[in-house]
């Protein structure tokens, strides 16, 4: 379980400390998924960086993983940055295998998974290219392949499907969903799409506008239920979420 209590983080502007997130407390059960949604600039990326221990000037508050402080060399945290974080000097294949390389996971044991993953993400004929030769959506899929292949203990993804067209996005959401069903990786992901949060987040955390705090933590009954998208309850649920965000932005 990931437990976060009273988490705050801020940035130095010219003269003062500007808070980005303030007093965030929540917990994510092992093997569950959590969607973070909220206005642009509300501190969602900052929140993910804090969990991964990447926030440069640190944070106040406490983040624990199964009761202990998060230690990246002990647990595997797969982190997918908002702009994918591909290394420009490595080919697609090398980028995909980077996580395993760092963690000394023998690649031979992952060959089959890698092949399936690459096919599902539609990257099979791009493996020898460099990131600069890919479209934004293709780069994003390489970033996804990298974190999926590692099968980490904790998966943190910042707007993981944002650069994809609607149809591809839905098919890759399903790829993620089936991967998650296989391995039940504890996942926190940021999204701007309410439907995405409702499809893939067992828990939905709604951030307020800047500086971010938690507006609402919602247990989501429609997780993984594509069959319910036409139902009245589903539409009402989505509508209420939308209303919440709208109200926050118009205040």
């Amino acid at each position: 379980m990931i437990t976060i209590s009273n988490l705050s983080a801020s940035y130095h502007s010219d003269t003062e400390l500007v808070p980005a997130i303030t007093d965030i407390s929540c917990s994510i059960d092992t093997g569950t998924t959590c969607a973070v949604i909220g206005p642009s600039g509300s501190g969602k990326s900052t929140f993910l960086r804090c969990i991964a221990g990447l926030q440069k000037n640190g944070y106040s508050g406490k983040i624990t993983f199964n009761g202990e402080a998060v230690n990246p060399s002990e647990i595997n945290i797969g982190f997918m940055p908002q702009r994918f974080g591909l290394l420009p000097w490595k080919t697609v294949k090398e980028n995909i295998e980077l996580g395993c390389k760092i963690k000394n996971v023998p690649l031979a044991s992952r060959r089959k998974t890698e092949e399936i993953l690459v096919n599902e993400l539609g990257l099979q004929d791009k493996l020898e290219r460099y990131p600069i030769q890919l479209s934004g959506g293709e780069q994003q899929r390489v970033g996804l392949a990298r974190v999926f292949l590692l099968r980490p203990d904790v998966l943190l993804m910042d707007e993981p499907f944002s650069a994809l067209d609607v149809i591809t996005r839905e098919s890759i959401q399903k790829v993620f969903f089936s991967l998650w069903k296989d391995a039940s990786v504890t996942t926190v992901f940021v999204t701007h799409f309410i439907e995405e949060a409702v499809f893939l987040g067992q828990q939905i955390i709604v951030f307020s506008k800047h500086p971010g705090k938690i507006l609402s933590t919602i247990q989501n009954p429609f997780f993984g239920r594509k069959d319910k998208v036409q139902s009245e309850e589903y539409l009402k649920f989505v509508y209420n979420l939308r209303l919440l965000l709208e109200k926050e932005l118009n205040e």
């Binding site: 960086r49 991964a52 221990g53 990447l54 440069k56 230690n71 990246p72 060399s73 002990e74 595997n76 945290i77 797969g78 982190f79 997918m80 940055p81 908002q82 702009r83 994918f84 974080g85 591909l86 290394l87 420009p88 000097w89 490595k90 980077l98 996580g99 760092i102 963690k103 460099y130 990131p131 600069i132 970033g143 990298r146 974190v147 590692l150 980490p152 943190l156």
Partner: protein, 248 residues
């Protein structure tokens, strides 16, 4: 790819031809021994290359290579440390900034007093000129690395070793090669200058000696070899950049 190499080779040849034609026309107009005809210079070069010039060339080559290698071996780690560790940067950056604009050639008398007139001072001066360009360009390329590139590695607890070989070194390679390419010209001119003192070997000595002997053909032959030396080093860095930085 092959086609590209061919066209750039052809355009190089065309460039050389233009220079030679201009030179020939100039020689015809001026019509003085100080501007000899290119054909005669190349005949002379062909005659004396094996007997004298090659020995001078080897000496110059040796000094350039040692100077360049030392500058790379020390400049690269230093530049990476300055760029990556803010504490080291705070310590070294003012030093680099203060020393960078000092014209190193002006230090030649001091260096020669301290290290003698031999190869050491010649190599040292070349080293001192190139290392600053290397350190600064490597530091800048480390600064330019987007923070996001580190995230997927650091979130997995990557060691400094991983970060060095997967990020820092490949990220600084293109600018290192550019810096080396640019400093080639500087280091060749400096080499020429330092070789006019305290040595009987090196292209600088050869050119000045031919000049004093009023042997203009030999002098020109020396200048051509020195230029070709610069061109070769330049092309090698160019080729290295094309091979190892094809991801750009």
């Amino acid at each position: 790819m092959n086609n590209k190499v061919n066209t750039s080779f052809l355009s190089c040849l065309a460039g050389a031809a233009i220079i030679l034609i201009c030179w020939e026309i100039f020689a015809l107009i001026v019509n003085l021994p100080i501007i000899p005809h290119p054909v005669k210079v190349f005949q002379k070069l062909y005659m004396i290359f094996g007997t004298t010039i090659s020995a001078h060339l080897l000496h110059s080559l040796y000094r350039i290579l040692i100077g360049l290698s030392c500058a790379v071996l020390i400049g690269v780690p230093l530049g990476i440390c300055i760029g990556y560790f803010p504490k080291i940067e705070r310590l070294f950056s003012p030093l680099v900034y203060l020393l960078y604009p000092v014209p190193k050639v002006a230090l030649l008398p001091i260096v020669m007093l301290l290290f003698g007139t031999g190869d050491t001072s010649k190599v040292l001066i070349i080293f001192a000129i190139i290392i600053f360009q290397i350190v600064l360009s490597i530091r800048d390329s480390i600064h330019d690395i987007s923070e996001e590139l580190y995230y997927p590695l650091k979130s997995l607890g990557a060691s400094f070793n991983d970060i060095f070989f997967d990020i820092l070194w490949p990220a600084s390679l293109p600018r290192l090669l550019t810096a080396l390419r640019i400093s080639t010209a500087t280091s060749i001119s400096v080499l020429f200058f330092t070789e006019t003192f305290g040595t009987k070997y090196g292209l600088g000595y050869f050119i000045m000696d031919a000049w004093l002997r009023v042997n203009y053909l030999e002098m020109y032959a020396g200048i051509i070899v020195l230029s070709l030396l610069g061109l070769t080093v330049f092309c090698i860095f160019d080729l290295l950049e094309k091979t190892f930085c094809s991801w750009k």
